[in-house]
Amino acid sequence: MLLKGEISVIVKLKLFAASREIAGSGETLESLPDAATLRDLRDKLFAAYPDLGNLRVQFAVNRAYVSLDTVLEDGDEVACIPPVGGG
């Protein structure tokens, strides 16, 4: 049995455009403690790649924009979304 705080959630993280270039990769697996939120993942990312913090990124979970309070589940697809520029 896993205790809270242990690694129990693995999410797929996708990074695009400027965030992909900063992280050096378009897709990674991220391991998080049980009950971790999107905010926790964001803080981890910003710590690893400080330049990401200057990008005004949003995040999506399973292809929808969601609040940073969203609790991540094992197998979630999280996307780091810098300011979009379509059209």
Binding site: A64, G85, G86
Partner: protein
């Protein structure tokens, strides 16, 4: 799929295939917005653009925009959106939006809203490439 309404593609895109998708016996008016790569951005000469997408989410968000449009303008019948990705040259088409309605008045505001929302929320990114550098650009 031949009749998919919300598409991210690396192929050349045109307006008429979307118009044809939306023409039905009761659609008297179809309007389209065609976004074209400009050769000039804030005074700098653009060599080409690189578009990148999160395609699965981009297509879902395009569908959400269509639902927003139909909620606000109930006369709008159908919506189709195609966005191209990859390397685009100046003068090539980056995005086509088409809307159909039985009658005219709604479609112009609805089309304006749709392209604004595409630029605001669809996860697609654009890198401008100049002779002396490049940059990811956003209107946000």
């Amino acid at each position: 799929m031949a009749d998919k309404r919300f598409v991210v593609t690396d192929a050349l895109i045109k307006a008429d295939p979307l118009v044809s998708q939306l023409v039905m016996a009761e659609a008297g008016a179809v309007v389209t917005f065609v976004g074209v790569v400009r050769g000039n951005s804030e005074g700098r000469q653009v060599l080409h653009l690189e578009y990148e997408a999160y395609p699965e989410m981009a297509e879902a968000v395009m569908q959400q925009i269509a639902e927003e449009v139909r909620a606000r303008w109930p006369d709008v019948q159908e919506v189709a959106i195609t966005h191209r990705v990859g390397r685009l040259e100046v003068g090539e088409t980056a995005v086509v939006i088409a809307l159909s309605a039985a009658h005219r008045p709604s479609v112009f505001d609805a089309l304006h809203y749709a392209i604004d929302r595409v630029k605001e929320i669809v996860p697609i990114w654009k890198k401008e490439v100049w002779a002396d550098g490049s940059e990811w650009k956003s209107e946000q």
